[in-house]
């Protein structure tokens, strides 16, 4: 592998370019006309304009990406995250053109992309999955029987559903029939399909995921877990490693379970297995992400690893030899978005007039932003990731507070003030939260002019 085309933009494009350059690989950046002044364009060895601002005409357009690889002679494509990173067809197109797609095979991507197929595959491999009915529940009677097998509380979910509709939580058998009927009615109204299935309702679930690396040649290792329960509308805002509630024994069990699942599909590349972890310490497979993730830095910090480097090496055909991954200290990542947290997190694109990133021991900022950069309105609002690493979680929190106070971004609204308040939250500091945390978190309004 000699030249990598990074089929992405923003901070992750810069992230990949950095490691490629350290590895002595040439890089090609691609950019839409809205990204002419982007940092990844400046720092890549070469850059190719691939289309107008809209993603579907540029970063999502497989033909233009392949053409860009051809004219520059790139022999590998790194898809980053989002865009075409988990697009099985794109992975196949790269293969067809003799370009190495830095990620798993099209078959693996397809398999893990189908959520119920993925669940069945994991279950067969021996990975604990959220117990549930075997498909659609046809009658209240059948449902009640399945529910007692699973164990209450259970959740009735619409098969054709999503967005929280057509769902009912049932605490005990007495409430089952009513919930079953109500869910079916709502499902019919919302999706035109009344079919429902059952799942165990995981109480106070935490979203904990295991970072994996497989070489597709028989070896898979993990880099510990990430706690990602701080989410707003299913978007992660803050992540940490290790999870404050996962001890070494649980880490080992979760890691082994994740590896079991990855080995079942002979996984090649970086991947993440997401689990729901309940208050009893039981965990259940949710889904697998077959790409590098936004929050990969926290595992890098606590294990001293360059995950992008490993990802590229595995793509080059190297075998995994490292066995000594240990988790040391604690790392926290805050996602800094160009959004106004005091106005319902509305997006705030525009010109960054001042930009000073914090520094110092154990402080890392992954960003593509700079003073004078115009944040285009066409893409996601992530402008920087602030990551800290310290010997203990308490020290990491203190360091994050200091770093947030030092972070200056002017000209656009950012979520820095939100994170500053989050760091002061008692439950958060104590590590006592689950995925419902942000539903009840109250953001204190600030006086105009103090919004940072």
């Amino acid at each position: 592998m000699k030249k990598v085309l990074i089929a992405n933009r923003g901070e992750i494009a810069l992230r990949v370019i950095r490691t490629c350059h350290e590895m002595g690989l040439a890089t090609v950046a691609v950019y839409s006309t809205a990204d002419r002044d982007a940092l990844h364009v400046r720092f890549a060895g070469e850059a190719v304009c691939i289309g107008p601002p809209a993603s579907r005409d540029s970063y999502l357009k497989a033909s233009t990406l392949i053409a860009a690889a051809e004219v520059t002679g790139a022999d590998a494509i790194h898809p980053g995250y989002g865009f075409l990173a988990e697009n099985a067809e794109f992975s196949a197109i790269c293969e067809d053109h003799g370009i190495k797609f830095i990620g798993p095979s099209p078959e693996t991507i397809r398999l893990m992309g189908d959520k119920s197929l993925a669940k069945r595959t994991m279950e067969k491999a021996g990975v604990p999955v959220v117990p549930g009915s075997d498909g659609v529940v046809r009658s209240a009677k059948d449902g009640r029987r399945t529910a007692s097998e699973i164990g209450y509380p259970v959740i009735v979910k619409a098969s054709a559903g999503g967005g929280g509709r057509g769902m009912r939580v049932v605490q005990d058998e007495a409430g089952f029939d009513r919930a079953y009927t109500a869910a079916r009615t709502e499902a019919e109204a919302a999706f035109g399909n009344p079919d429902v299935y059952l799942e165990k309702f995981v109480v106070e679930p935490r979203h904990v995921e295991i970072q994996l690396l497989g070489d597709g040649q028989g070896t898979t290792i993990h880099f510990g877990e990430r706690e990602c329960s701080i989410q707003r509308r299913h978007q992660k805002l803050l992540e940490e490693a290790p999870s404050p509630v996962v001890d070494e024994a649980l880490r080992q069990r979760m890691g082994e379970a994740a590896i079991l699942g990855a080995d079942a599909v002979n996984y090649e590349g970086l991947g993440t297995v997401e689990f729901l972890l309940d208050a009893n310490g039981d965990f259940y497979f949710m889904e697998m992400n077959t790409r590098i993730q936004v929050e990969h830095p926290v595992n890098e910090e606590v294990t001293g690893s360059d995950l992008v480097e490993y990802q590229v090496r595995v793509a080059m055909g190297e075998n995994i030899r490292r066995r000594d991954v240990t988790v040391e200290g604690a790392a926290i990542e805050c996602r800094i978005n160009a959004e106004n947290p005091f106005n319902n997190f509305s997006p705030s694109p525009g010109m960054i007039t001042a930009f000073h990133a914090p520094g110092g021991l154990g402080v890392r900022v992954d960003t593509h932003a700079y003073a004078g950069y115009f944040i285009p309105p066409y893409y996601d609002s992530l402008i920087a990731k602030l990551i800290v690493h310290a010997r203990t979680r308490e020290l990491a929190i203190r360091k994050m507070e200091r770093a947030l106070d030092e972070f200056v971004i002017e000209g656009v609204k950012t979520t820095i003030p939100f994170h500053q308040q989050l760091m002061k939250d008692e439950a958060g500091r104590a590590g006592q939260f689950d995925t419902s945390f942000l539903e009840t978190f109250k953001l204190e309004p600030v006086e105009a002019g103090q919004e940072g």
């Binding site: 809205a34 304009c49 233009t64 004219v71 053109h97 694109p349 115009f374």
Partner: protein, 198 residues
């Protein structure tokens, strides 16, 4: 010096090409200055060339709709190359430079010295990424050369991407003023290819 002498003097000064006379006698001094209109020869000035700034990106700038590019379509059906985006209305006039060498937009191809198009000139830009070919085959002559007249629909060049030869047709009629890229050169999206004068 009496009044009639002064009158004479004034008359002489007025009738002559003299601009200034100073007479000094014992007890008086007379200075007569004629205001001579200076004649300046005006050079015929070219109208100020609009200086094409790279458009400072305002999100409200209407961007020409990208023509959905379908490769492999038969000749005559290939979508035309989009025209250059309109310059901002408040573009300042050319600074005091010898020749208008403003570039139409920042792109990797600046070194080819694309001059700012005049009012009736259009830049044809690459609608896709690929390799530019100026002729239908290595043995054949070029599709167009500088000086050729083209009409709407005429094939200007081929851009090859992923082994597919995509014919780029002209969206306008006019004369090829300049060919900005060379045969077998890789081109990126939006890269200027031709200047056509209408």
């Amino acid at each position: 010096m009496n009044l009639s002498k002064i009158k004479d003097l004034l008359r002489i000064v007025a009738e002559s090409g003299v601009a200034e006379v100073e007479i000094e006698e014992q007890d008086f001094k007379l200075v007569v200055r004629k205001s001579v209109p200076t004649v300046t020869l005006q050079q015929a000035q070219a109208p100020p060339v609009p200086y094409y700034q790279p458009v400072p990106y305002p999100p409200s700038m209407p961007y020409p709709a990208p023509v959905p590019y379908a490769s492999g379509m038969p000749p005559g059906a290939a979508p035309p190359a989009p025209a250059a985006p309109a310059p901002p209305a408040a573009a300042p006039p050319a600074p005091a430079e010898a020749s208008p060498s403003a570039k139409p937009s920042p792109s990797a191809s600046e070194s080819n010295g694309a001059a700012a198009p005049g009012a009736s000139e259009t830049i044809v830009r690459a609608p896709i990424v690929g390799t530019f070919y100026n002729s239908p085959s290595p043995e054949a002559g070029p599709f167009v050369e500088s000086g050729d007249t083209v009409k709407v629909g005429d094939v200007l060049c081929i851009i090859e991407a992923m082994k597919l030869m995509n014919e780029i047709e002209s969206e306008i009629s006019g004369t090829i003023k300049k060919v900005l890229v060379e045969n077998a050169q890789p081109v990126e999206y939006d890269q200027p290819l031709f200047v056509i004068a209408e």
